[in-house]
Symmetry: C2
Subunit: 141 residues, 2 copies
DNA sequence: GCTTGACCTGGAGCGCGCTCCAGGTTCTAC
DNA sequence: GTAGAACCTGGAGCGCGCTCCAGGTCAAGC
């Protein structure tokens, strides 16, 4: 009867907050803040109340970071996280959120491309302007 | 001797702050804030001290908005505006700033594309998941 | 057992980019 | 000339997304 329950060494691997911070690029404070804000469900603890992140926590964090990097606000991520916590019944709602976010992202990317090419024009303009001002450089070589 | 100096009706067109706000999508407060912050050189005034924006002001504002929309911070825009105010001698510096900004923009756009396609995968995954859960819908029609 | 560094909590503070406010002046239309 | 809308200034306030702090507890190596 020593092997019915998972023994300590059978447990899935877990990471300290410092390791997760290192890996995600988030600070300790930000990780704790995300948990306090409800973006992450309460992370498992040691008997001494220290966080131990598991693989699933890391996957979720990576997804959150993708949302953040594509410009989703904390409050929208909170909304998404709440839906997720409610389980499979909210899959359609989450899909709708992702589709809307994706569409906004497409808009922003279009705008960025437009602005980027306007910047390119300006840069080219400055380059020509500088070339014209130092015409001797070439003639002397 | 009545036509040597530009008469009032010869003046170039100008716009009130409300018209510029309407046109740029910025609020009155933001326009005043940008001027106070040194992003815009002091705009011309009526004798009664009310702002009258001219064509050159609008062009510069549009350029600033392009920098802002591509993620440049106010303090970097202040730096750029200071260089511009110093005149042609700073063209090379401004070009360097624009090139760096453009490179950062390219990086961010690459990251956005990566994240966008990861989002697309997730969206597809949810779509399949929903389809599988309601297999009857098709069979009955 | 002790030391030292990592970790905990609740709550205050901060930098950014505006936004709002009070109290006053100017412009426009009648 | 007057009413009402638009504008002015300096400065306070705000929402966001963290970041820092104080005052403690816990864990790992010696």
């Amino acid at each position: 009867m020593t092997s019915g329950q998972p023994l300590p060494q059978d447990r899935e691997p877990s990471w300290t907050i410092a390791q997760v911070a290192e890996r995600t690029g988030l600070s300790h404070d930000t990780l704790r803040y995300y948990e306090k804000a409800g973006l992450i469900e309460r992370v498992g603890r040691t008997t001494g109340n220290q966080r131990r992140y598991e693989a699933a926590d890391l996957l979720w964090l990576e997804f959150l970071l993708r949302l953040r990097e594509t410009g989703m606000s904390i409050s929208d991520m909170q909304h998404y996280a709440r839906l997720r916590a409610e389980g499979d019944a909210t899959v359609a709602d989450r899909l709708a959120m992702l589709r809307e976010h994706r569409a906004e992202l497409a808009d922003r990317m279009r705008a960025l491309r437009r602005n980027a090419s306007a910047l390119d024009d300006k840069i080219e303009h400055y380059e020509r302007l500088l070339d014209e001002r130092r015409p001797g450089t070439d003639e002397l070589t």
